[in-house]
């Protein structure tokens, strides 16, 4: 029988420590919508999404009420659109049309983001991939809820440097087209290496081609819960520290597993995976950086940060894996700058630099995320940063990602406000030395030797 201490502990996590289920993401395959006629394709996509997801938001709300746990976002991911639009889209403007249909479908079913305006080009780009990539800036400027991602490398294939070069230019163009909103378009665009097929988190979610027709993936969260648990073991050794993170991650993930099972049963759609990520929000007490501080650092970015993040990431996985039957997605600690108050404070104090963030991405679950940089940063420099991050992912056989926002018209130290979950950020300085000749070489970086396991 339950006891009062356990019940109060759970409710304290929800009420005071921001425990929530961050997202229920419904993955929908659009492969059966493919058509050579653009108008027919648009209609099929709209119908498939609005039919499959019609009960998603209402079901999410009913589960919230039943268990008394907030489910912050209800979202949709779809098959990478470059695969769907290939035969109907003759120009990048045709792809923009598809983005508008996705936006409309998202609004109809009431989800706040829809991911999958994506291309998978880790070894090379098809004509269709290229058209979609060129459509990204306009698509993000002319839609509200559509998110885009491009996978430009993997451990098995190496890095497509032509795509990396193009994405530097695309990011600049997306920034330019949304400059009156602090270049918000770039906040909805992720460049990946080793992108997972079942990631429920935006902006990088898409429904992989290896997935079933429809699937429920759930992203849990809970940095505030981990921080509070750690505040009770201050000064104790690493064994106690790790044990505490593990136990807390277990509890948080179990809630996600419960919500996923319930959503799957109510919607009649199979359960895919739980993503065990510690995902911060700009709310006070919902910060991954504050966990790092609780572990013993004055600010995120101080010496020891990479080690602290490595152990945090590992213990979250060890605790979470036992709590769920299927784990996937990104699973680890997210370190976005603008979405985490502790990270913002660390940047403002001068404790956290772009280079230290890059080191941290070697041991966390994602990459350089939600980082505002000066608007006059060159496209090739952005490509160089992407290439570095992709190389970390490729060599370490992990997912890495880049979501940089070159804020047009603003410089180092100025603040940008994206609003809502996307938060706000101080613009960080970027290394000023050129990598033009490197980026302009063209071609591919081969896969690393340890990828040949056959």
């Amino acid at each position: 029988m339950l006891n009062i201490k356990e019940v109060l502990e759970t409710n304290k996590m929800i009420e005071q420590e921001n425990l929530d289920v961050r997202t229920i993401t419904l993955g929908i395959s659009l492969l059966d919508c493919i058509d050579s006629d653009l108008e027919v394709l648009k209609k099929k996509i709209y119908n498939k999404i609005t039919t499959t997801a019609k009960d998603l938001v209402a079901t999410g709300k009913a589960i919230e009420e039943q268990y008394g746990i907030p489910i912050v976002n209800k979202r949709i991911s779809v098959t990478p659109i470059a695969l769907i639009g290939g035969s109907a889209c003759k120009s990048s403007d045709d792809y923009v049309e598809l983005a508008k249909v996705l936006d409309e479908a998202a609004k109809t079913v009431g989800v706040n983001f829809l991911g999958g305006f994506s291309a998978l080009v880790s070894k090379g780009m098809t004509k269709s991939d290229k058209l979609l990539m060129q459509a990204i800036p306009k698509a993000l400027a002319q839609t509200e809820r559509v998110c885009s991602s491009v996978n430009v490398g993997s451990t098995k294939t190496g890095i497509d440097m032509d795509a990396v070069k193009l994405m530097g230019e695309i990011i600049k163009e997306a920034a330019e087209l949304t400059k009156d909103q602090d270049s918000l378009g770039c906040a909805k665009l992720v460049v990946f290496c080793n992108a997972p097929d079942d990631n429920p988190f935006m902006a990088g979610a898409f429904h992989g081609v290896t997935e079933a027709d429809a699937i429920i993936n759930v992203g849990v969260s809970g940095p505030g819960v981990v921080k509070t648990a750690l505040s009770k073991v201050r000064g104790q050794n690493f064994e106690v520290l790790c044990e505490t993170i593990k136990k807390t991650a277990f509890k948080v993930t179990r809630v996600g597993q419960l919500v996923a099972q319930e959503a799957s049963a109510r919607l009649g759609i199979p359960f895919g995976i739980i993503d065990l990520s510690l995902a911060p929000t700009p709310a006070i007490g919902d910060s991954v950086a504050e966990i790092l501080e609780e572990i013993g650092l004055e600010y995120a970015g101080a010496p020891g940060t990479t080690a602290a993040l490595a152990l945090l990431n590992d213990q979250v996985k060890k605790g979470g894996v036992m709590a769920s039957s299927y784990v996937g997605g990104l699973s680890g600690a997210f370190i976005p700058v603008s979405e985490d108050q502790g990270m913002i404070d660390a940047v403002q104090a001068g404790a956290l630099t772009l280079e230290k963030l890059e080191a941290m991405t070697c041991v966390c679950s994602v990459g350089l995320d939600m980082i505002a940089i000066p608007g006059d940063t060159k496209a090739t420099t952005i490509s160089g940063i992407i290439a570095d991050e992709m190389a970390i992912g490729m060599v370490n056989q992990k997912t890495t990602a880049v979501r940089l926002i070159p804020v047009i018209g603003k410089g180092v130290g100025e603040m940008v406000e994206f609003g809502g979950l996307l938060g706000y950020a101080p613009i960080m300085p970027v290394n000023q030395y050129s990598c033009d000749a490197f980026v302009n070489r063209g071609g591919r970086i081969p896969a690393p030797i340890h990828s040949f396991k056959n």
């Binding site: 356990e6 019940v7 109060l8 759970t10 409710n11 009913a62 009420e65 008394g68 419960l258």
Partner: protein, 89 residues
């Protein structure tokens, strides 16, 4: 059998349990277990109730929450599985 957990948290005062129990009795809700404690001057109570008769949980949840506001405490009603999942392997 579905069971629900009702928690009541707030400043201690006369008649909290009486009012909550009166509401449950009026709505034919059977109480299976009650435990109560005072933590740092705060009244904390947990009741496990029989979900078989609860019927419309959303309505009861809203009415209990409104009753809580009237008394000056916070009342929540949640399906027991969230606690079982978190605290039992």
């Amino acid at each position: 059998m579905k069971k629900f957990v009702i928690t009541v948290v707030g400043h201690d005062k006369v008649g909290i349990i009486a009012k909550v129990c009166a509401y449950l009795a009026e709505n034919q809700v059977n109480i299976l277990n009650i435990s109560q404690t005072i933590v740092d001057g705060y009244f904390n109570m947990m009741m496990i109730v029989d979900g078989g008769i609860v019927g419309d949980v959303t309505r009861m949840s809203k009415e209990l929450s409104a009753l809580g506001e009237e008394i000056g405490v916070v009342i929540r009603c949640q399906h027991e599985d969230i606690f079982n999942m978190m605290h039992r392997i």
